[in-house]
Assembly symmetry: C3
Homo-oligomer: 339 residues x 3
């Protein structure tokens, strides 16, 4: 059971050019294409006539034309032309999915199109704000999407999964306080007046003490956003003034593909040394390495679950944020199902 009335990332804008592109989201075949005015549309990737994937067809005059018998569909999913006959048969249509191009990603709404509210797209302003520099990748991952969420929200895996990078950090020693709102689960740690990490010392340009923070927020169904940084000690970052500091954002969006596979979009952005390509490259490489260690774990976990008839996990204290997040997601899904 997936949450449907929400935005998922469908891909990168550059993926959809003149040719239609077929993908699977939430177990459903979806075709993405650009209409005459260049906007991206998404339809059910299955012709209503003989069920050929429409992604095997082509875009013709802004319509999506099936590659089998040439039926044409507009961006609303309505069949607007059937070769060889003047009238379109009643009911000839495919499902449409609202799409928005924003923050250098394509966002798709898999639920009721009329409920699609662009205002619900999570705020990842740093993806295309010129005072920030962002990077990231797309990975196809062979696990249920929620396993990939879990590993983001649980910091205690770091010493075991990332022993050579994050794992050595003392940051995992204390449990964060988890906060829950109607729409999010979040947690954070502030370490006041401490020595900066080598990376941040270089970033902020000082060896003096700093106030450090590590904050994260989960927005169901599948966005985990991290806010990491430091500022000169006592400069007021904790109360909102980050002018004397540097910030690094990471975002993990996971779009379910099937029940045991997902689309993983991760991104990292920073607001310091933004013109230094070497810093960007190093940052990308470091996070890529860390996130790929996560992927190795969750794919192995999925294989283990495939071979498990009943999942009866024992929980530990550190699972609190994961359990809160799962509970909130479950609540969202129940609300949608009951409605």
């Amino acid at each position: 059971m997936y949450l449907r009335n929400c935005w998922y990332i469908a891909g990168l804008p550059g993926e959809v050019t003149n040719e239609p592109v077929g993908k699977i989201f939430l177990g459903e075949p979806v075709v993405l294409f650009r209409t005459s005015d260049g906007t991206v549309a998404a339809l059910e990737d299955r012709c209503c006539h003989r069920h050929l994937p429409l992604s095997l067809g082509k875009v013709s005059n802004g319509h999506l034309q099936c590659g089998y018998h040439g039926l044409e569909f507009d961006a609303s999913g309505a069949c607007v032309s059937v070769p060889g006959q003047s009238r379109v048969p009643p009911g000839a249509a495919v499902r449409r999915y609202p799409v928005v191009e924003m923050y250098d990603w394509l966002w798709i709404w898999m639920g009721d199109p009329d409920a699609a509210d662009q205002g619900l797209i999570p705020d990842v302003f740093w993806r295309d704000d010129p005072v920030w520099v962002a990077t990231g990748e797309y990975w196809a991952v062979a696990c249920a999407y929620d396993l990939l969420i879990d590993i983001q929200l649980d910091n205690t895996h770091a010493p075991f999964v990332h022993p050579d990078t994050l794992g050595s950090s003392a940051i995992t020693d204390t449990a964060p306080r988890v906060e829950r709102t109607d729409r999010t689960v979040s947690a954070g740690r502030w370490m006041m007046d401490v020595v900066p990490s080598p990376t941040f010392a270089r970033a902020i340009g000082t060896e003096e003490n700093v106030d450090r923070w590590l904050l994260w927020e989960f927005t169901p169904p599948s966005l985990c956003a991290f806010d990491i940084g430091c500022a000169m000690a006592g400069s007021g970052a904790e109360t909102g003034d980050r002018s004397q500091g540097v910030t690094l954002h990471t975002a993990h969006f996971v779009t379910p593909e099937t029940e045991t596979s997902c689309h993983y979009f991760w991104s990292v952005g920073r607001n310091y040394n933004v013109d230094d390509i070497a810093v960007t490259g190093a940052m990308h490489a470091e996070f890529k390495s860390i996130f790929s260690e996560d992927v190795e774990i969750v794919e192995a976990q999925q294989k283990s679950l495939d071979n498990t008839s009943v999942w009866r996990p024992i929980d530990v204290n550190a699972d609190a944020p994961v359990l809160q997040a799962r509970q909130l997601l479950k609540k969202f899904i129940s609300a949608e199902t009951d409605a």
Copy 2:
């Protein structure tokens, strides 16, 4: 549910030599081998003793000998020898399937052996008639056999699936009249006193106007036969005198392998320039290219259907012949099932 009391093509005569050959037809394992007199026999490809495929055994004195314990079976499927004992246990037998070698193909009857009637083998005389020259191929195709039938009977896919060859032809502009008999669905178009296509102009050796025809006939479960040609305008071809014309036959036989795969045998024959190897080669290459475009479509269609819980296709006008053919096949299968 397959039609069983009918002939399917099992393969090419040259495939079955000294060694038994195992295949799957209608979901059932079948072994083909040659008996002492050189005729081809077909049995269940599963020893009645420990179920090893008999195709892993060998032919010994015209009997098929299992490769595990040496049980021997004759062409009727009866076990005639069990090593180490003088008596064959009661019930030791495997199913037999009548086979006929005709028109340079092997035909197999998957139903009641006693009902096998060689007279029901479709007439494809041009496959081995010396005034004709025929060519063709066998392809394993990853789709339900009926999808491959559908695409033969539906001419309106040509502009979209075969844009560079058939698709440009004006021949698809008018709907054919579909005719149905007790045993066939057929349709055809006659275009009287028209310019010949370049290919046929060369074939008939004139640039003058001709009467052209495109006729096809579907015989359940899975034979689609085409009759294409032209004759000098007004020479009486439409009423039966083709002496002033040239004819090209194509045949598409599809034998179900499993519910989502089939054996596709196609053939093309002509009665003009029969000694010109270059024409044969060009004809083969052209049709091979066209038919492989069909296969690309139906295999993609199958994948789409695999991911579709309920198939509720919308029909269009051009589906008339396909729907007639499906209906006739369904009637045949129902009759067999009720009997």
Copy 3:
């Protein structure tokens, strides 16, 4: 349904070093590792917390540490440490399987650990007795384990499966008398005062007549042990005095992996020419060739069964030992299930 309260071979001692090793036995994931004192322990290969395979973790201070969140398990399967908290949650444990290292194999007890009785390990003394020399291999085989048992107990397949080696032997001409005890099915043939086979003539160092034997014993669920040899004619081998003879043992242990795959451990040992490496190499090569012919058959048989809805085999006379063995195994399993 598997027999559980019995010993299966889990692998070779050399396989389990510093790193944990994951395998599947009887459909269950099992991890093997060495504790601080070097003994091998076996646990469920699935952390009780988030179900990552423990074989992806590492051994730390003799405990098995999960590679995800660092939970540690001792050899009894009890979770003894959860990072970040002082108390281990109730119920945090994984299943344990008793393991014994003996005869240069690792033996695992897949049933009730308290019922594990080392005395029930089959006697294959010749595997590590210095007056014997033994060799063998491990193979992953793609068939249900009982198919691989069947082929051992049935000598009549030799002329068909092993035509170039065993098959030519006259030894298969006479049916053995099958004997059954509470715990075994066995059979044997004694051929008194006959010419020795070339191999045994060389082994015993004479061309004179010998008394030959071929004895085998099946111990459920999956051990087939052969005892083959000859002694000077009339020297009393049949009544127990083998001092004037030579003996060759082969053992076939099969551990179920899944319902259609198994772990096959075979071994061959002899008490003659024990220092002659060339004889060992030739013996190994010969049996390897023979046993791989068996594997080819049973894997093909499995594929055939996969495509068979109901297995209704016809039995022949030579199946007597196989049927006795299957019956005894069934009795063992029923007894265990009823208990």
